[in-house]
Amino acid sequence: MTNLGKQKNPKELSPSKFRKNKVGLGAVNRRWAIISLVPVAGLLFIFLALPAMYSIWLSFNKWPGIGTTKFVGTQNYETLFEEGRLAESIRITLLYTFTTSFLIVGIALLLAFAVSSNMKGSRFFRVVWFFPGVAPPAAVAIFWSLGFQPDIGVVNSVMGLFGLPSDTQWLAESATVMGPVIFAGIWIGVGFAFLVLLGAVEGIDVSLREASMIDGASRRQQLTQIVIPLIGPVLFTILTLQLIWNFNGFNLVFAMTDGGPGRSSEILPIFTYIEAFRFGRFGTASAAAVIGAIFLLILGWLGIRMSRSRQLD
């Protein structure tokens, strides 16, 4: 503090004093940093850490939604694996998560590459392509589930125009239900990935791509030999984010199919919701949620490792 008083005189502001002053800036704000972090820590503890720990504890108990809990050890987990229902739900979840995420990142990369080479109107595309990411997923779900209706739906009408069967009951048959769901998931998700990847592609030194063009590189060669290697870390980061978000894709899928027909589109978050709030089996639901969280942790950990190792290259 005495330090500060001295520096009020402008004549004393030599470079070395400035450095001291920087320390001063940190010192006067340090107390405020601690004070302002208290509510952050408090809210994150109450609404994230505490409930997560409670779920883990509840997964070893029986609780029907009211009254007291009863400790049952690992019984909830055993039930889930014995019935084989969880395995089926995990299979559907992984199918949905990986197909949607990879296609989102692939399409977003191609679009970012197309728009980045000085295309006119790129500001328009930037704004418009993120519309689906802003609209309520339940509204998107309603639109596309009507669109995939036999005969009257937009998708089937278009298929009819090309002489393809137009009476497919897409959402009513377990063999086809994941098609529309994955399609809608991609429709929602590409915008965000596109914006991030466009930021990365535009960060590449323009002269690099120009030089390759003079050397006679085709667009495909530009994409595979310059753009993809250079934005590798961002590509992995956005893929990891997409995998995590689509693994949690409750909002879209539940509104579109309710997990049906039967249980054929019951991704893990829907499985958990139905198990708890329709059947009142909160213990097994928590166990399923814990298993889902473990999957996510592995995905996130792998993603961070991959993007780090890419960065070192």
């Binding site: 500060l4 800036l25 940190g26 006067v28 704000n29 340090r30 405020w32 004070i35 302002s36 952050v40 994150l44 109450i46 609404f47 994230l48 409930p51 997560a52 409670y54 779920s55 679009l111 590459f113 080479s117 295309m119 930037r126 704004v127 418009v128 392509w129 993120f130 802003v134 609209a135 309520p136 339940a138 998107v140 309603i142 639109f143 009507l146 937009v154 914006l195 930021g199 990365a200 592609v201 535009e202 960060g203 063009m213 085709s218 667009r219 934005i231 995590i244 949690n248 409750f250 909002n251 893990l268 978050p269 958990t272 919701y273 709030f277 909160f282 949620a289 969280a293 996130g300 993007s307």
Partner: protein, 280 residues
């Protein structure tokens, strides 16, 4: 020649994708203005119908019951979204600012601890929320639910704001300090007005999350008159089964607030998201 073909195919792909994105919004607006008969007679007709503007009024006042109309859902959504926004901004922005003055190492540690929260899946949280709210008598309380949505948004808000504040020109802050503006005064009077862009971007992302998500509200707000529009949408097809015009009008209404906010402030948002790709 080859680059020309490449350029043309790039344009075709870009236009096709734009059509795929825009057509649903166009169809929803179109059907929202049609009568049921017009929809079934010629769904894709653009000029052969009389616009039914009253569909929007019908939709606003329609719903499963007289105390749970789309208008009521809207009010609930607004309460949730505004509470969430105040919570996350009020808590995350000052913390992100003051943390940026700690040593690089500590700033990084705190950042990691905060964003670790984003990996926790919502399914792991919903059941404990339900039990706690049930026992505290907070079920069907929109403000309490808004605080949850705000808290879950703290990590993203903290991350984006902290990134911005780290690059904030230190000379300006030093000058303010020399002028005798205390740390809090500097933050409130100098830094906040200069941080409009990122604060707007963070706010819109937060509002979109609170307005559109229903994974938490479907559990904590189970009485129909306390539900937000995101939950109300789930029973739309059932509630409007006989009348598609007002249903599409309702879809348009439900999406309009967030879409409008996004369009108005799109510059900040697209820039903010693209930055995420550049700085890594």
């Amino acid at each position: 020649m080859i680059t020309r073909i490449g350029r043309i195919s790039a344009y075709v792909a870009v236009i096709a994708w734009t059509a795929l994105i825009l057509l649903p919004f166009f169809f929803v607006s179109l059907f929202g203005l049609k009568s049921n008969t017009a929809i079934f007679a010629n769904p894709l007709g653009i000029f052969d119908f009389v616009p039914q503007w009253q569909n929007y009024v019908t939709a606003w006042n329609a719903g499963p019951s007289s105390d749970a109309t789309i208008g009521v859902f809207f009010t609930n959504s607004a309460i949730i979204a505004i509470t969430a926004l105040l919570t996350s901004l009020g808590v995350a922005v000052p913390a992100a600012y003051f943390t940026s003055f700690l040593t690089r190492q500590w700033n990084q540690r705190i950042l990691l601890a905060v964003i670790a929260g984003t990996v926790v899946p919502i399914i792991l949280l919903v059941i404990p929320y339900f039990r706690a709210f049930n026992e505290l008598g907070l079920l069907n309380n929109t403000v309490a639910t808004g605080i949850i949505y705000g808290s879950l948004n703290i990590p993203t808000a903290f991350l984006l704001m902290n990134r911005f504040f780290i690059d904030f020109p230190r000379e300006i802050l030093e000058a303010a300090l020399l002028d005798g503006l205390g740390p809090l005064g500097t933050f409130l009077k100098l830094v906040l007005p200069l941080s409009k862009g990122p604060i707007v971007a963070v706010s819109i992302l937060n509002l979109v999350f609170a307005w559109t998500d229903y994974q938490i509200s479907i559990v904590l707000l189970n009485r129909r008159d306390s539900q937000p529009i995101s939950v109300g949408l789930l029973s739309f097809i059932g509630d409007f089964s006989a009348d598609y015009g007002p249903m599409f009008a309702g879809l348009a209404l439900a999406s309009l607030p967030v879409l409008l906010l996004y369009i108005i402030f799109s510059r900040y948002i697209t820039k903010g998201i693209a930055l995420g790709g550049m700085s890594k």
